[in-house]
Symmetry: C3
Subunit: 142 residues, 3 copies
Amino acid sequence: MASDLPVLLAAVSTLSAVHLVFQARRVGWSRMKHKILPPSVTGPPEFERTFRAHQNSVEMYSVFLLVMWISGIFLNEVLAALGGVLYIVGREMYFIGYIRESKKRLPGFYLVLCALLFLTVMSTIGIIHSFLDKYLNITLLS
Amino acid sequence: MASDLPVLLAAVSTLSAVHLVFQARRVGWSRMKHKILPPSVTGPPEFERTFRAHQNSVEMYSVFLLVMWISGIFLNEVLAALGGVLYIVGREMYFIGYIRESKKRLPGFYLVLCALLFLTVMSTIGIIHSFLDKYLNITLLS
Amino acid sequence: MASDLPVLLAAVSTLSAVHLVFQARRVGWSRMKHKILPPSVTGPPEFERTFRAHQNSVEMYSVFLLVMWISGIFLNEVLAALGGVLYIVGREMYFIGYIRESKKRLPGFYLVLCALLFLTVMSTIGIIHSFLDKYLNITLLS
């Protein structure tokens, strides 16, 4: 195996995947607690908030993985992995907060948005730099 | 940074990610307009159509990224990126059309399907070619 | 094109993408059968089970792709591709079973979980090995 593989990105990605599956698991526990049998996805507010908290993670998950990998490969792996860890922390805060009360999802949500913004800006810089280098032969960064 | 990174695929992917987050944002605006508080996802037909338009994008997003990257890496990056741009245009047509009326989502939907079909066929050709080359030592394309 | 591209991972991924789109197609057929017009996602139990069966595939799809590619690139491509095939078989069993009766989704679900667990364990081993090699210069496996 090559030693130049982006192992930090792989590690944070795998951690985020385990975290997402653990959120799905907690939706399952909420189903049991409130006796909501599949395929129903409606019930008491606490169950619906738990269900939607997981759904929101699912909706953004591909976007997160994409910008983390692109920023890590096109710009800086360590910073991208740090952005990824921030994102996971934000996701957990969002999930725990949302279960308690709809408004309490917001601090985690803003952290998630900050992490995504950070990774998207890094991706864009990396792409522009790489585009200039590859197609126009201009080197901006050393 | 290596200058042989697939920067066109990265650029189109990042654009598609920003587009998907922008769709999620418009679902949020529709929540405010119709005063639908999370976690509820039901309400007036216009809100439900906006919500489902975004959900449909989410459901297909990983499939899109996958076939774009595979066709771009295993066959031709420029064609794959073009297919990706077509897909994003189709997604926007789908979203705007669906908000107005359920039937008006169809032109965008057909464009999305065409783009996915194009990328899937390209992926399949690239995979078959690469498989023959790697495991059977047969070179079909120069 | 380089002959060292992970063509088996690409092939299984493309197959899984076609399978996921085929599940979406069957949700569409179920809409027609039960005359449920978009954007509605509620109706007779059979329709709701079909809808949720597809949704469950969507929820886990990115996680599946991620751990298959990481385990394939960081540890062993053939074993990862086999895990991927098992996952697709489990997804089809889950889908077919769920449509008939909620409880009949379980055998497929357990197969899906086994495949994900297998791929996640492989990913973790590959990441640890690669991390030790890259950052601490320790080689565990030959």
